[in-house]
């Protein structure tokens, strides 16, 4: 065993995904850690370099806007995978399916008869202040009453080992292409280990996504025409849009490629003339979708698209308005939704949450603001939140002021000691904090990716894993121990 992989000296400040508190690898990680131990430090550095080269030549990038222009950044990638034991994953998967089913029941109910409000489970006044509630969607019935077709839920593990759902992304969740590419890179870099252990494959996603989209076609008899609607090459997730369109063999379209005719059908401009589009996997936010209905100056969207959607002539995934359920305050009600719609207990717990609109909760949050993470209801990407223990006194005071002014818009959670995994850094292998974003396709029998995208905070002690703020990624291995992987 080399100095580098001497696990006995590896210490995580919290729960570690690969190494137990006794310094011994967990069962699902044993094959991996054994393999790593067989490499010298120089060999491991070589593999790391090979991964960087592969990422560069595959063009795995995300776009950031800096110094007045768009720059492509290679996605920071850690070669050491994160492992999950299959039995644990099966339970997680069941919890995610349950959750996405309940969320879709909720969205359909909210834009329909609102039983959950009338039965006093969910406070109706929350809707009035929700920035993601779209009155234009009330009364619409998308196929199968599914609104959030593609959901990305963020999971974290606390120091006691419990896996919590941190948030659900129901608008345009991104990252799945990195999950797929990470696996490809890891196969190039560590081909030996894939031969000797049972790591479940992740490649099915594009095909599953295609089938789900094709099923939404309003003209089921014909071969459906499917487009992926992207804001264009300046969007930070453009790489992913290309990647998915390519993998599914669908058209990658931008707003100006589409128009809605007098017949309320959506068409794309082709060299053969207009061609009708049946399904749009849209990666544009609601408010930019249709300048006739939302932002009138949006050039990304398609005038009349909402008209075509309401007439049932084009399916949109995710449906406009689905974001009403990924509000961080609405999030707190998900366990009750599961009970209300499915008559089940939630398999995956929420992080305990304090809603600042409730007087008791608000008082608690203000008194304990130095211990809590306080989040605005509708921000994503880790923006606009306060990490109490790490903020200065002045920052906390300023935040408390904003919270008092608009309590509906804030919620707070205890600061979790989120789990770590061994990560190759310039100083050797060190623990880094991470989360997991699985992707769920809502349909009659929901589909969940095998594992998901593991995002890791590359900076020591940092808890922020978002790529826009310096986070990276790891390949995620769901390891089947029963199939001789040990």
């Amino acid at each position: 065993m080399t100095e580098l992989t001497n696990w006995a000296r590896y210490r995580s400040p919290t729960y570690d995904e690969l190494i137990g508190p006794d310094g011994k690898p967990r069962p699902a990680a044993r094959a991996l850690t054994g393999y790593l131990s067989s490499l010298t430090a120089a060999e491991l550095a070589d593999r790391r370099l090979a991964a960087e080269l592969a990422i560069k030549s595959l063009g795995i990038t995300f776009t950031v806007y800096s110094e007045g222009r768009n720059v492509d950044r290679a996605f920071p990638f850690d070669v050491i995978p994160r492992t999950i034991e299959r039995s644990e994953w099966d339970r997680t998967e069941a919890g995610l399916k349950q959750r996405v089913t309940a969320l879709n029941c909720f969205i359909a109910d909210i834009y329909g008869k609102q039983h959950i409000v009338r039965d006093g489970i969910f406070p109706g006044e929350l809707l009035e202040k929700s920035v993601n509630f779209r009155p234009q969607c009330v009364g619409v019935r998308p196929a199968g009453d599914v609104w959030a077709h593609i959901c990305g839920s963020d999971l974290v593990r606390d120091s006691d080992g419990t896996i919590y759902v941190l948030e659900d992304n129901l608008r345009v969740p991104s990252g799945v292409s990195y999950m797929l590419e990470n696996r490809m890179v890891n196969k190039r870099v560590f081909p030996e280990i894939f031969e000797s252990s049972t790591i479940l494959p992740v490649d099915a996603y594009p095909a599953e996504l295609y089938d789900m989209l094709a099923n939404l076609s309003p003209r089921p008899a014909d071969q459906p025409v499917i487009g992926l609607l992207t804001p264009g090459i300046f969007n930070s997730a453009y790489f992913e849009h290309c990647y998915l369109a390519l993998q599914m063999g669908v058209e990658l379209v931008e707003g100006p490629d589409l128009f809605v005719g007098d017949d309320d059908c959506c068409y794309m401009r082709t060299i053969y003339g207009p061609q009708r589009v049946d399904v749009l996997y849209r990666r544009i936010d609601d408010l930019f979708l249709d300048p006739e209905v939302f932002h009138p100056d949006s050039v990304l969207g398609v005038p009349g698209l909402m008209r075509a959607w309401r007439a049932g002539n084009v399916a949109l995934a995710n449906a406009p308005g689905a974001g009403v359920a990924d509000d961080k305050v609405v999030y707190a009600y998900v366990p009750e939704m599961i009970r209300y719609y499915l008559q089940q207990d939630a398999i995956l717990p929420n992080v305990p949450s304090y809603l600042c609109m409730r007087e008791d909760d608000r008082r608690y949050v203000l008194d304990h603001i130095d211990e809590l993470v306080v989040k605005p209801a509708n921000e994503s990407g880790g923006y606009g939140m306060l990490i109490g223990p790490r903020a200065t006194k002045a920052e906390r005071a300023a935040f408390a002021e904003r919270l008092r002014a608009d309590p509906r818009n804030y919620m707070a959670q205890p600061t979790l000691a989120i789990s770590t995994a061994p990560t190759l850094t310039d100083d050797g292998i060190e623990p880094r904090h991470l989360d997991l974003r699985p992707f769920i396709l809502a349909r009659e029998e929901p589909y969940v990716t095998t594992g998901g995208l593991t995002r890791v905070a590359m900076t020591k002690d940092s808890l922020v894993v978002n790529s826009s703020q310096g986070g990276g990624a790891k390949d995620t291995w769901v390891v089947d121990l029963d199939e001789g992987g040990n």
């Binding site: 030549s57 063009g59 090459i233 290309c242 058209e251 990658l252 401009r269 082709t270 060299i271 003339g273």
Partner: protein, 314 residues
């Protein structure tokens, strides 16, 4: 097929061909400078002229030296015609068509872009530059080779061919144009006569045409024959005639492609009318310059027709 996708593929072809020709042009020019006597100044500025880039060049550079021109044509980020900028455009074209174009092409162009970006600033050193440009030329040829070998001959491929052929026809006329604008100073006829031959050879080499010319003509290099070869030869793929023929072949496979035919015929008519002996008769090559301009304008019309018909319908 989306009009925008077709447009991007067409432009990818144009950009790719432009990159290769520009790289070759700079390298051949450098070799030519080695062959000319010391007291005959070789104008590097003529390269800037070929690409019609004087206005952009003169605002930011002053000497028109080899180092400056090489930097401008290869590494300049603000000049949209530099290798680096053109590669970046080609990359954006591919990025917008990744679902249509073969996957490995993206990897290759991406790597080439990274290479030129990384090495670009050292191009003032001739040795580094020569290697870099050779690599660029090789990678471009390999990319075209991969596309020709691996891509189905459907509509996307036809747009690629249109772009490649139109750009080559245009670049061929521009490269011939160096001669008529006088890369080697005209006037001192007697002393420079031997070097004129070298220069026409360099025109051929800029188009990778020297060997094919020799096999076809089996005689020494002379201005009228070179000109005739590069404008009219039916077999050499970079001759203007051959490029026009290649474009013609794509039209039957494109929806209502015949609507572009008229513009192509117009270019052909100019070619047919131009008699090389007459073009080279006058002292300052004004007639040649005029015909090359006419061809370039007519090619511009072909481009406009393609754009109107396929990329901006209705």
């Amino acid at each position: 097929m989306l009009s925008r996708t077709a447009e991007n593929i067409y432009w990818f072809g144009r950009h790719l061909q432009r990159i290769e020709n520009t790289a070759r042009l700079v390298n051949v020019h450098a070799y030519l400078s080695l062959d000319l006597p010391r007291h005959v100044p070789l104008s590097w500025g003529s390269l800037v002229e070929i690409l019609g880039a004087w206005p952009q060049f003169s605002t930011r550079y002053n000497q028109g030296s080899e180092a400056e021109v090489a930097h401008f044509l290869i590494a300049d980020e603000q000049f949209p015609g530099s290798l680096r900028s053109t590669l970046s455009l080609a990359r954006e074209n591919l990025r917008a068509t990744r679902e249509t174009m073969p996957n490995d092409i993206w990897e290759r162009v991406n790597e080439l872009y990274a290479l030129v970006s990384a090495r670009g600033e050292s191009v003032t050193y001739r040795r580094i530059r020569t290697d870099l440009l050779r690599e660029v030329i090789d990678q471009c040829l390999m990319t075209v080779g991969m596309l020709v070998s691996n891509m189905s001959r459907g509509v996307p491929f036809q747009f690629l061919c249109l772009g490649l052929a139109l750009e080559q026809a245009d670049m061929t006329t521009r490269i011939i144009d160096v001669r008529s604008s006088g890369a080697v100073g005209d006037g001192q006829r007697d002393e420079l006569t031997p070097f004129r031959t070298i220069q026409w050879m360099s025109v051929l080499k800029s188009l990778h045409a020297y060997q094919m010319y020799r096999r076809e003509q089996r005689t020494r290099v002379s201005a009228p024959r070179v000109l005739s070869f590069l404008l009219h030869d039916r077999n050499f793929p970079r001759s203007v005639s051959c490029c026009l023929w290649a474009m013609q072949q794509t039209l039957p496979r494109l929806p209502e492609g015949h609507r572009v035919n008229e513009a192509l015929t117009a270019v052909n008519d100019i070619l047919q009318r131009s008699d090389v002996a007459r073009l080279l008769a006058d002292e300052d090559n004004a007639a040649l310059g005029q015909v090359l301009d006419d061809i370039q304008l007519a090619l511009g019309q072909v481009h406009n027709r393609i754009e109107q018909h396929f990329f901006q319908p209705d």
